[in-house]
């Protein structure tokens, strides 16, 4: 349940979809599709810019029901339809200038996000890799700490434990 494996600086997430690869690719790379599903949980996004070309900017605003807004951006790096999308990912202001992570300001400003799509049993296997980029050693170490925490089961078992401990006080 809880292990103390070495810190990695790569966050990997996989999911299979019961849909053709072309559809998943389109949903990930076209503004008219992205606006229906992309964004932080509970938010709806408004897209200010979406330039699907290397170096192009995807700038969007996440709007929450309580009126809060949170801007974020992609800078596209590699676009290989329908199998590979690479972008620099970060929070931003509404002009598209990078801003620190709102919760952990000492985190790397940008991560390199890679999505690969592979055909699998008539469906599509999506793999997302997130790793710090243009970051200082301290920023990279913090990111590794977060990933390590996740691998330790901080998100699940430790949360239950914390609730339990809090109940005892």
């Amino acid at each position: 349940m809880i292990s103390s494996a070495d810190a990695a600086t790569e966050f990997v997430f996989k999911r299979t979809f019961d849909a053709p690869r072309e559809d998943v690719w389109n949903a990930f790379t076209q503004a008219e599709h992205l606006k229906h599903w992309w964004g932080a949980p509970g938010s709806k996004i408004e897209i200010a810019r979406h330039e699907l070309r290397p170096g192009g900017l995807f700038l969007y605003c996440q709007k929450f029901p309580d009126g809060r807004t949170m801007w974020a951006r992609f800078i596209f790096r590699e676009i290989v339809a329908p199998e590979r999308l690479v972008w620099l990912n970060g929070f931003s202001n509404e002009e598209g200038g990078l801003t620190p992570n709102p919760w952990v300001p000492a985190f790397p400003l940008e991560t390199l996000n890679t999505v690969t799509l592979a055909e699998q049993d008539g469906g599509t296997l999506l793999t997302i890799t997130v790793t710090p980029i243009n970051a200082s050693d301290e920023q990279t170490e913090l990111f590794a700490g977060g990933i390590a925490g996740m691998k330790m089961g901080f998100g699940n078992s430790f949360k239950k434990l914390a609730d339990h401990l809090a109940g005892q006080n």
């Binding site: 990997v12 299979t16 019961d18 919760w103 430790f158």
Partner: protein
């Protein structure tokens, strides 16, 4: 609180400190006992404990003479919630993508001849 999260993640970046936390998850224990599995000098262990204490992840009892270490609930919960949020961001984003892809397929299904109205089992695998 923001700086506290940063020092929490910095504390977690070290494998020895993660091992100490994993040990303390089993219950409070003395510094001597903590040092045992690490083949490490007491001062070295104490240094790690200080980092964990500063990060708010553990506390050391003042009353008992052997000053046992234990996990601290508050900051632990803060860090756990943040980590959970990050995982949830991807989880929920991909749930929405999954639902959206199914919706995209619907018009095609209506015209297909094999009565494809029954719901397909959700197929997903997680890391």
């Amino acid at each position: 609180m923001q700086d506290q999260l940063s020092s929490t993640f910095a504390a977690l970046a070290d494998p020895t400190r993660r091992a100490i936390l994993a040990r303390l998850a089993l219950g409070e224990t003395s510094v001597t006992e903590l040092a045992e599995p690490f083949a490490m000098s007491m001062p070295a262990v104490s240094k790690h404990l200080k980092v964990l204490e500063r990060a708010g992840l553990i506390a050391r009892s003042r009353d008992a003479q052997w000053r046992p270490c234990r996990l601290e609930a508050g900051q632990l919960k803060e860090a756990a919630s943040w980590i959970e949020e990050y995982r949830r961001f991807w989880e929920e984003s991909l749930d929405r993508l999954d639902a959206y892809l199914r919706k995209m397929k619907e018009p095609a299904k209506k015209t297909s001849s094999n009565g494809a109205t029954k719901k397909k089992a959700k197929s997903r695998s997680k890391e």
